[in-house]
Structures are given as structure tokens and as C-alpha cells.
Amino acid sequence: MTQISAQDQRFEREALSCLPDVSRYALSLTREQSEADDLVQETFLRAYTNWHQYNAGSECRAWLFTICRNQFLRTRKRGSRSVRMDDAALESLASSRVFASAHESGLDRLFEQREIREAVEAAIAELPEAYREVALLVDVHDQSYDAVSQVLGVPIGTVRSRLFRARRILQEQLLAHARDAGLAGAGAGDASGDQR
């Protein structure tokens, strides 16, 4: 019987345990299941080959997300993108104005409606790529600002400004969707009640 090396045991325990998370992240990048599965496989092959570069004790999931994203970009041969820098605090304040607008339209509880899910997915898909990838990592894949800074190779301030801008865009689009769909004033009775 083959003796399992300590390295492989560690890879199994620390890296492969993140497979569901990497799978979800890959799908959010590719938006197509078979392409996502290819990306997941390539991510873990690269991770295994470069396992000696992984710092024990650091966030393995963020390390795998970095490999996954880099491989995705390599596949897509994307050029560099320039994104306007925004002041994160101002974006935060702008979001409070979105709330005021929602309140005036009777849409205070819009986001508690389960029916909004498809609209949320569509709105995320329509975000400019630089904002979409930050929103996905923080809000969908539950990564910290620091981890996202590491994955994307940008300063934390850039993560915050892109994230807050992404959230404001999403909220504005969802409010517009709700108004178009005639949802104003509805929602309280549909509240799911679960909070993050």
C-alpha cells in the first residue's frame, strides 16, 4: 500500500476542503458550468504543483481564489482595465440616499422579498467587470477586504471603493426593477426574516 505523504495529507485537508467554495467562485467567473469545472480542475492542479509556495497558516481559500482568477484571466486573455477611483465613504453616503429613495417609494423592504433573487442575479451579471468581481468575492463568497486585496492584487482602498460602488449600482438597478414591476408598497408580507 502506498504511503500517503504528509504534503498530500495537508493538501487534502487544507486545499481540497475548499473545493465547493472554489467551484462556486469559478462558476461566478465563467457563468457556464462545464467551463467552471475545467477551471476548478486547472486551479487544483496548479495549486498542487505550487503547494510549496503556499504559506501554512494563511488563508488557503483566498490563495486558491487567486490561482482560480489568474487562470481565468489567462484563459480569457484579458487586457488591463482602468477603473475610476471613487471615494468609498462617499459611496457609502450615496447608498443611504438610495435608501431614502426606496423609502419614498414604499420599497423599504424590497430586499426581504425572495422574489427579488432573479433580479439580483441579473443585476450582478450586468455590473462592470471590475465591480462585479469585488462584489462576488465579498458579498457572495464571503471574503474579507484583505483577502480580496490579495486575490485581485489591488490595495484595500480600491477594494472598498469598488465594492461600495458595486452595491450602490446594484441597489439602484433593483429599485428601478421594482418600480418597473410595480412592486412599490409590496414586500412586508413576503419578508423572509433571515438576517446576515
Binding site: S5, D8, L93, S95, R117, V140
Partner: protein, 87 residues
């Protein structure tokens, strides 16, 4: 109503930092100060509830793999071809 709950924090300060607060990205002291303000300020509470519901809605947009076991088998098989020895 607008009511600063501490000498340091007013509603606008809280609004500026609300996303950082909800993401648990502030220092312990700052988290506590904002939490204290939100517990008492009736102007900021609806905003906090609105933003939390928004974050919940976005988090629910997460897609699950239709067959995670098959993907695990596929990845491990590819790894074994590279010398990986674990089951």
C-alpha cells in the same frame, strides 16, 4: 431624528462607515461605537435594516454546483495523474 449618541459619532459618521461595519471590517472600538449608535438611533436603524436585507439578498444569489461529488472525483483523478496519493 438626528441624535449623536456619543461625542464622536453622529448619524453622518455612522452612514459613512456603515458598509465597513456590516462587513465587520472596523476596529473593535469603532464597531462598538457604531453598534451603540444603531441601538439607539431611530433614524439610522431603518437604513441598517435595509442594508442588511440587501446583503442577505445578494448572498442568496450564490449558485451551487449541480453535482459536487462528481466534480470532486474528477479533480482528484486529475491530481492523481500528477502524483497525488491521497484517496
Amino acid at each position: 431624528m438626528t441624535m449623536p449618541m456619543t461625542p464622536m459619532l453622529d448619524c453622518e459618521s455612522v452612514m459613512r462607515q456603515l458598509w465597513d461595519y456590516l462587513d465587520l471590517e472596523l476596529t473593535a472600538d469603532r464597531m462598538a461605537a457604531i453598534r451603540e449608535h444603531l441601538e439607539l438611533c431611530t433614524r439610522c436603524q431603518p437604513l441598517e435594516q435595509f442594508e442588511r436585507a440587501f446583503l442577505d439578498a445578494v448572498a442568496r444569489a450564490r449558485s451551487e454546483h449541480p453535482d459536487p461529488d462528481a466534480l470532486g472525483i474528477r479533480v482528484r483523478s486529475a491530481l492523481r495523474a500528477q502524483g497525488y496519493q491521497h484517496a
